[in-house]
């Protein structure tokens, strides 16, 4: 069972890497953006199937930081400055959201 799960994960990651780097024809920056988006997909697996609520909160926190990276790379690719503004605002708001989730998990009120 454990070996089957290991093998399934290795096959999924191998197929995605092969399709991304050897089949898909694009500039190298777009391929790197694809790797970040695959990472966000794996984080979404942990959001959906996390055994405890803390796992889901951690996954949402990590997803926020990953999205900052994706936004910065998109701004570099399209050569537009406003993606950086969105990334800064996203960083602050995801921090506030993580603190609020932690307080709710601890069982206190938000104004405590």
């Amino acid at each position: 069972m454990k070996i089957a799960r290991w093998l399934a994960g290795a096959v999924v990651i191998g197929v995605l890497t092969y399709l991304n780097f050897f089949v898909f024809r694009a500039p190298i920056l777009v391929k790197l953006i694809n790797v970040s988006l695959f990472s966000a997909l794996f984080v979404l697996y942990r959001v959906i199937r996390g055994p405890s609520p803390a796992d889901r909160i951690i996954a949402v926190d990590i997803l926020g930081i990953l999205i900052i990276g994706v936004l910065v790379l998109l701004g570099l690719h399209y050569d537009q400055g406003f993606f950086m503004d969105i990334a800064l605002i996203w960083a602050l708001l995801s921090f506030v959201a993580s603190l609020a989730f932690a307080k709710v998990l601890e069982g206190r009120r938000l104004d405590d």
Binding site: I58, V72, A87, S98, K103
Partner: protein, 119 residues
């Protein structure tokens, strides 16, 4: 040309760290292990990625916003991780079977026996 190479190297390093951190988030057995692996790796990876963008763009507004984002991430991510770990430990989420020591729990019991107000 040299600047482009160094910037792309930093960006690739950051992407690799991001991916390894997410792999740790998937693979490790426990809330606290997952939190440790994911927060450290993804924070450092995103900081390296933003520093690569700063090297690529130079001293423009784009590059300075990247540096500001590095400062935000380094300030906010450990605080959020600490708050989540504390909340998870207080809401009695168990540790995994292989864990050896739980110093936070021992500290809490000592504080309760000593008669101080457990906040």
């Amino acid at each position: 040309m040299i600047r482009h190479t160094i910037g792309m190297a930093f960006i690739c390093l950051g992407i690799v760290f991001d991916f390894l951190g997410v792999l740790g988030l998937l693979r490790l057995p426990d809330v606290y292990n997952r939190l440790q692996a994911a927060t450290k790796c993804v924070t450092f990876g995103s900081a390296g990625l933003l520093f690569g963008v700063f090297v690529l763009k130079g001293f423009t507004s784009f590059g300075f916003k990247a540096l500001l984002a590095i400062a935000f991430i380094f300030l906010t991510s450990p605080i959020a991780a600490h708050a989540i770990a504390r909340a998870a430990h207080r809401s009695r989420i168990p540790l995994c079977k292989e864990s050896v020591v739980d110093l936070y729990e021992a500290d809490h019991e000592i504080r309760k026996e000593g008669g101080h107000a457990a906040s």
